[in-house]
Amino acid sequence: MGTFKFSMKMLIRDYKKSLFYGLTLVFAVAVSFVFFNIINNNQLADQSIAVGGGTWQNVQTPFSSILSFLIICFCCFMIFFANNFFMTRKTTELAVMGMSGSGYINSTMYVLYQTFVLLALATPLGLLLGRLVIPCSNAYMYERLHISKDVNIIPQEAYIYSFLLVAIVLAMICVLTAGYLHRNDILVLLSQEKEMNFHGSSNKYKPLLYVAIYVFGIVMMFMNPHSPNAYIAPTLVGVIGVVGMIRYVLPDVIKHLKKGVFLTKRYRLISISNLSYSIQRSLLLFTLMTVSVTGMMAILAANQQNPREFVTSVIGYIVVVLLLVVSIVYKLIMEAVTRKTLFFNLWKIGYTRKELKKIVKQEVIMYYAILILIPLVYILFIAGRFIYYGDMTISFAVIFTSAYVIPVILSGFLTYFEYRNAVVKPIQGGK
């Protein structure tokens, strides 16, 4: 009972740490509910067969269902990601519990109680949110498919599968939490929330290799004859290149810049060092963003004439971009909190508050510029090919790109203000 009380007390006191996790849960449940509605809505089945009296069983699985399933999987992945991040923000509490004599089971239950409560709140809220969104998505799809049905009707299966999904997610979280606590001892837990661990890269051939892979992905687009599916393999190759470039090329480039021109630049020396760390910590999110945005571009372009697939893809694209952008913003803001000491030390050395704000601004601008540029190169090549072959209009490409770039830029502003408030505002004393 003591563990439960302490768990609830900390959940309320430190609600900011749980906010992102809670919101991700609400959003993921809502999105899954919307897509379960699309998968199970007979009105949205292949109409020629549906009109002829066929059922889902008679119909070959439509692409919209596969896409919906993939997006639901993506939501689950985002829940696990948020859960992992949630865990890393709880490590000090868990270490203190360990030092106070709490056993492995108690510590695991401490986290799970909080997860249960968050899920118990998030599930009805998510379903409610989904319930509000579904009439709009149904109305839009029915209009595009020329169906006149009540947009408020939601198949029962959508509810059942949503609850089932929550149950599966909960079971997975239990396993992940237990595993995490089993792997990490008190000392590791204590250092998790505080340290920025840096390690230099050592292999000098890897950077060249990954640049070559990234470029090869682009070359592959021109090697294959144009078709919507022709861009999947080049994109996947490009993603391998992106991961390698972020992991090996970027630190190498930054290292050389810092030894060269940036050594005498009072702001850049600091901002680019922090940038390198921030990007390494966001590697997974950068990769997901690249895969999702470039992949969705090919899918949307290929399904412009299929309203059901097209609308599903549009909703999916918006959801994926929003979820990733929110995750990136939250991760950066939480990382910023761990840099208070770093910025305070800079101030002690002689940087003014104004200069510190400039360092934050430079880091945030460079971070989001890289986030935009990495997939943008592939987007431009894919869109260029589609436009060249007459399968896409320029306005479509512009709208698609804007739907990615605008949320990223807006989140850049939000990150800057939050980051600045986290590291510069607390500096007290002096002038």
Binding site: N197, G200, L263, R266, G350, K354, K431
Partner: protein
Amino acid sequence: MERKEILVADKITKIYGIGTKNLFEALHEVSLTMYEGEFVCIMGPSGAGKSTFINNLSTIDIPTKGKVFINGTEVRVMSEGQIGKFRYENLGFIFQEFNLLDSLTIFENIAVPLTLANVNKEEITQRVHDVAKKLGVEQTLDKFPNECSGGQRQRVAICRALVTNPKIIIADEPTGNLDSKNSHEILSLFKELNEKEGVSILMVTHDAKIASYSTKLLYIKDGIIDCTIEREGLSQKEYFYKIVDINSSESQELFE
């Protein structure tokens, strides 16, 4: 020969929690005149106001009342930019927690004050290597702080404090996280800097052995200077016993 005043604290008072119910006076009208080339040590029990005093003297904090003059200029009339410039040009900070920047390599950490002072690349490289060699951390220059030991990190922090050839070193418990061997190596270095290069040192410590390297000791208690000892002609051993006496008399009060 007349000695030059480098740092003057004139009746400084520091009150925390102004505007709240929890007012706390950490320092009460404390005065100090520090001359060029002095090695001043501040001792006292926990919560006596040692760190508050050193922070107010070194521009990290501003006193509620009273004035601090550095090289004859009052800190309060300086802008934030001027204070910042003053810090990286004249002061070298060394802290118990090392306070290195985790995202920079050891080389870059040492180079930061030079970068701030707009020193050119070649000179930065030269000076960083020189000071790193002097402190024996040359082999760690390409590493990150988390890849170094505690002793190495503190030496790097000292390198950073010395790289601009500061007039004053401000050290708050610089050996607090070090073993005795490293502690005495570092204090020997301080002593050498003070005696041979004329660097003024203002240091806070709990350790009487460490304090015995200084030339003057201030004992702070309950926000005021309780007593001052000058080493003058005493040997380090005699000076050490005097410091121990002061600390012992403080402990004796517990039993009276």
